[in-house]
Symmetry: C3
Subunit: 160 residues, 3 copies
């Protein structure tokens, strides 16, 4: 297959920051809307983008993580000017004023356009986030080998 | 077209950190110097790399953002060891001592080598940064669809 | 050469954060295990991943950097929830409990699988980290032109 035929975009979403998730989903929606196949692989902090609003963690550390980094996609804070939650509130206000969709809306649009979302098995195990704590639209929980295969077939692969 | 013919490098510059901007422009200059076509798409915090030293923001939040994250490329601070501005000063000193060009110089070299720079329309609207607040070398302010098209034609695409 | 023949993955490892290094080495090991050629180019904070546990820095700033950002790969702290070293300890515990290899082990596996690691000459010079302060497995210290060439030949290139 020549690369001219490659029509897939894949992303590793490592970050759980509001602004970076916003960039990731905007790119996903843009690529899907232009007819590309889009695959998102969520790992580490990025897993928050796929979580339901339920407590997670079994052991002491897992529960601590659930408390300090818990909640769902709407709890994501910007990577800069977070100001203990104030930054999130401010950016939400600013985006709404400019008619920019919210993170949960963007994610839903991505799902509606057929963007496939995967969770990283290893991070879920380490961070003690079970499959049940994640939204139903998640295709599967997979390992790094799966991602490598997707990246190989992609015209563009991003680490966000 | 086979991918062997692809000779373009594209970047999404999301970060406005001094060290990451330094990496982005160094890669841009290196690629352009080796004969590649280079396209940089600046979004969110990365927009600072294209700003003039003028106040921005119309509403309360936009103006707050202008105050806390204002200034031009020379105001960028490192992502680590920022120490309230001291880190920036220290890195500038260290780079100068090793004859490494400054950020504004690197950006100018990139422009001189024909690197094309674009601003993300949506972030500019949300952050209330008008076209007039940006340097003249900015080609245009575009949406995500434009970037997707560039990435598709690129041998390499980076998210920085 | 058509892109279907491209079987190389290249990475710029800019970050020195424990979690991002973990992602970088996991991807490197996964790709190498699946038969890809893997090239890692370490720059700026990422250089810590290749350092021995020796003091670095000649001038005042270089020595300051050596003190505040010194040590080897085992000193890397997570990008979030660092809690002054507590986060590192917690993640190490959690990973060990799930039988996930440590960072030094992952790096060794990458080396054993033939992953090639390069240091960025310019950052080493600016940060005053000499070649002798780096582990023997580092292939060479190279400039941006070398990396551009590698990226051009790669099916996938990531900036981490």
């Amino acid at each position: 297959m020549s690369d001219g035929a490659k029509n897939k975009l894949s992303m590793i979403v490592f970050s759980g920051d509001m602004d970076k998730l916003f960039a990731a989903f905007t790119i996903a929606v843009g690529a899907a809307a232009s007819g590309m196949e889009v695959v998102m692989f969520f790992t580490f902090w990025g897993l928050r983008a796929l979580k339901k609003k339920v407590p997670t963690g079994k052991g002491l550390f897992g529960r601590l993580l659930g408390v300090f980094y818990g909640g769902d996609i709407s709890r994501a804070t910007p990577s800069r000017m977070s100001f203990g939650g104030l930054g999130r509130w401010m950016f939400k206000k600013m985006m709404k004023a400019k008619m920019v969709p919210s993170l949960p809306e963007l994610r839903q649009t991505a799902i509606d356009l057929g963007v496939r979302m995967y969770g990283c098995q290893m991070s879920m195990s380490v961070m003690e986030i079970p499959r049940e704590a994640m939204i139903d639209s998640v295709e599967a929980c997979v390992g790094v080998a799966f991602f490598i295969e997707q990246a190989r077939e992609s015209a563009t692969t991003l680490f966000i």
